[in-house]
Amino acid sequence: MSESLDDFRARARSWLQENVPEHGSPMEGPESREYALAWQKRQFEGGWAGLTWPQAYGGKELSVLQQIAWFEEYARAKAPSTHNALFVGMNHAGPTLIACGTDEQKAFHLPKIMQGEVIWCQGFSEPNAGSDLASLRTKGLVEGDELVVNGQKIWSSYADIGDYQELLIRTDPASSRHHGLSWVICAMDTPGITVRPIKTMAGPAKYAEVFYDNVRIPLSNIVGGLNNGWKTAMATLSFERGTASLALQISLSQRVEELIAANDDAGVSDTLMDLRADAAALRAMSYQFAIKSETGPVGSEGSMIRLYFAELAKRVASASIDIFGIGAPQVLAEHGLGFDYFDSYSETIAGGTAEIQRNIIAERVLGLPRGSR
């Protein structure tokens, strides 16, 4: 007999009570890698990793409702943020492999991600190809059964501690725009790769610049077919802009409730109730989207929810400072609310800026004519 949702939730709550680490994650560097991998390993061993991933590759193949229940309990238990070094692997590299990878690629990589053995990073943006991703120039020329890659990527979170990268490159030198690209699995220890971490205004080195100097990658690492990378990249971005943030969205709602619980100042009650209403709206939209995604492709609606979440996250971070006061220990503490606030600015940039998301929503959801770029 299958387990009821209530029983599943109770089991999740009980396990989290026993297993959530006492201390939070270091913010950067090898320590953050070790922390993330250890926590992922513990979840896997407890039977809580890859809840919706295929059983054939070690996943649990559970329902989205169970996934939501897990994330709700996860947030309630103040478990480590899913916005950690596992984020790319668990939320868009893994799902892209499930959707577009070969059996060999899935069999090799998915268990490693789930079991907390590897960190993934993303290599899409370039110094002159940010919002205009299709203008990317990093080249991969076919030589025998390998690609020889030269170029540069930037804003690659976790590249300094990563094992693999989802790398988007131009493999047809005669092509332009979104034609002639390939989505490639790049092992970060391949000779010719140099990584330069970049410190953000929130403090830690959250991003990195990656340089490729005659980096040789097997053709068997191409995901979705040679010169078909735009389609694979769109799959990646649909995950990144869609269900990838589900846990973070639930966690944000929980954070609003914690702010309400910690405050009895009537002077900010209207702000707190505004935030609660927004958080409730976000959850309603994101649950609807997640459940719909279980039965097939859901189009670009995910951009609406991603954008709503990103802007609300910034407002919650700002309100948190105001509620405690600018000189309060919670605000000034290392990686305290001041850090959260400046870190939250990346929410409307990463995975496509708010402006790009609005273009997508306008054209693909509302059906408005495409404007000039």
């Binding site: 001041g338 600015y345 990346s346 402006e355």
Partner: protein, 310 residues
């Protein structure tokens, strides 16, 4: 109404420009959270810029012009309090830099690490506390100003200035918030305008996209509004004007900073891009004196009296 600078004001600003130029102040090259310019502090003191409001023929508005200009620099210096607030509350105005705080004396305050005097609004009294060497522990923050907190506030003698002085103290603080914000906003905007003119995406400068142009125009409007509201409040030294100026400034800052960082993309989120030198400080000022809601209540009190807002 005359919005042009008087000859004296033009001379002050010209002198200030020369002083700043002689120090060759640039944005810190290293990725740092804050930079206090002791050299600028010394030169401003020597040049008499910080006691301008006590000089014959000059007033708060002249001081506000100086504070607004200094806020445009990529480094901080304690000027707003010394120029706009402290002269009314210090017996010895050479005991600066001056820190200000509202609430418990255990809270962190801007400029406390180098302050010689603290003015503290503790709700039912205004205290003046002389800060001896070693009495303050520094607090590292992301708000660009040097922050510190008193190690043992009970051990420090304080002078009670009386609850009656709180109205004037808060009024001046509100003027300082608006005027300093105006200078910070102008420099932040200048950085972003330069970026969107040169940064190309989709084969054209991103500043040519209407979505960006419109919001940058709105940001410029907010900056100008804060500037003139701040100057008006400094000119009138009026309760309502000060509260409205601070309300507007603190209300505008979140929208303003969000858009400015947004238009610089991921580069604008790094310590390598200089925008944070101004937006860190704006976020700090946004939270002072209880934030925009508290200033709005003060504005309402100025119009209707406090009894309406119980």
């Amino acid at each position: 109404m005359d919005f042009d600078f008087s000859e004296d004001q033009a001379a002050i600003l010209s002198g200030l420009e020369q002083l700043i130029s002689s120090l060759n102040i640039e944005a810190p090259k290293d990725a740092v959270f804050s930079a206090y310019s002791h050299a600028l502090d010394a030169e401003l003191t020597e040049g008499g810029f910080l006691d301008i409001t006590q000089q014959e023929g000059f007033g708060l508005l002249d001081g506000a012009l100086i504070v607004e200009q200094l806020a445009r620099l990529p480094v901080s210096v304690e000027a707003a309090t010394s120029v706009l607030i402290a002269p009314s509350f210090l017996e010895d105005t050479t005991r600066r830099p001056v820190a200000i705080l509202q609430g418990a004396l255990t809270k962190a305050a801007r400029f406390l690490p180098m302050a010689k005097t603290l003015l503290a609004d503790i709700g039912d009294d205004l205290l003046r506390i002389e800060i001896p060497e070693g009495a303050v522990e520094e607090v590292e923050t992301l708000f660009a100003y040097p922050y510190g907190r008193l190690k043992n506030p009970e051990a420090l003698p304080s002078v009670s200035l009386g609850a009656g002085r709180l109205v004037e103290f808060r009024r001046r603080w509100r003027i300082a918030i608006a005027v300093e914000s105006a200078g910070l906003m102008q420099s932040a905007l200048d950085q972003v305008l330069e970026h969107v003119k040169t940064r190309q995406q989709f084969g054209r400068p991103i500043g040519s996209f209407q979505a960006i142009q419109h919001r940058l125009v709105m940001a410029a409007e907010l900056g100008q509004a804060v500037r003139w509201l701040g100057f008006k409040a400094a000119w009138s030294d009026d309760e309502g004007d000060a509260a409205i100026a601070a309300t507007f400034a603190q209300d505008a800052i979140p929208r303003f900073c969000t858009d400015l960082h947004q238009f610089c993309g991921a580069m604008g989120l790094t310590l390598e891009f200089p925008l944070h030198h101004w937006t860190y400080r704006l976020r700090a000022l946004l939270g002072e004196l209880g934030g925009s809601s508290a200033q709005a209540i003060a504005a309402a009190d100025a119009v209707w009296g406090a009894s309406k807002n119980v």
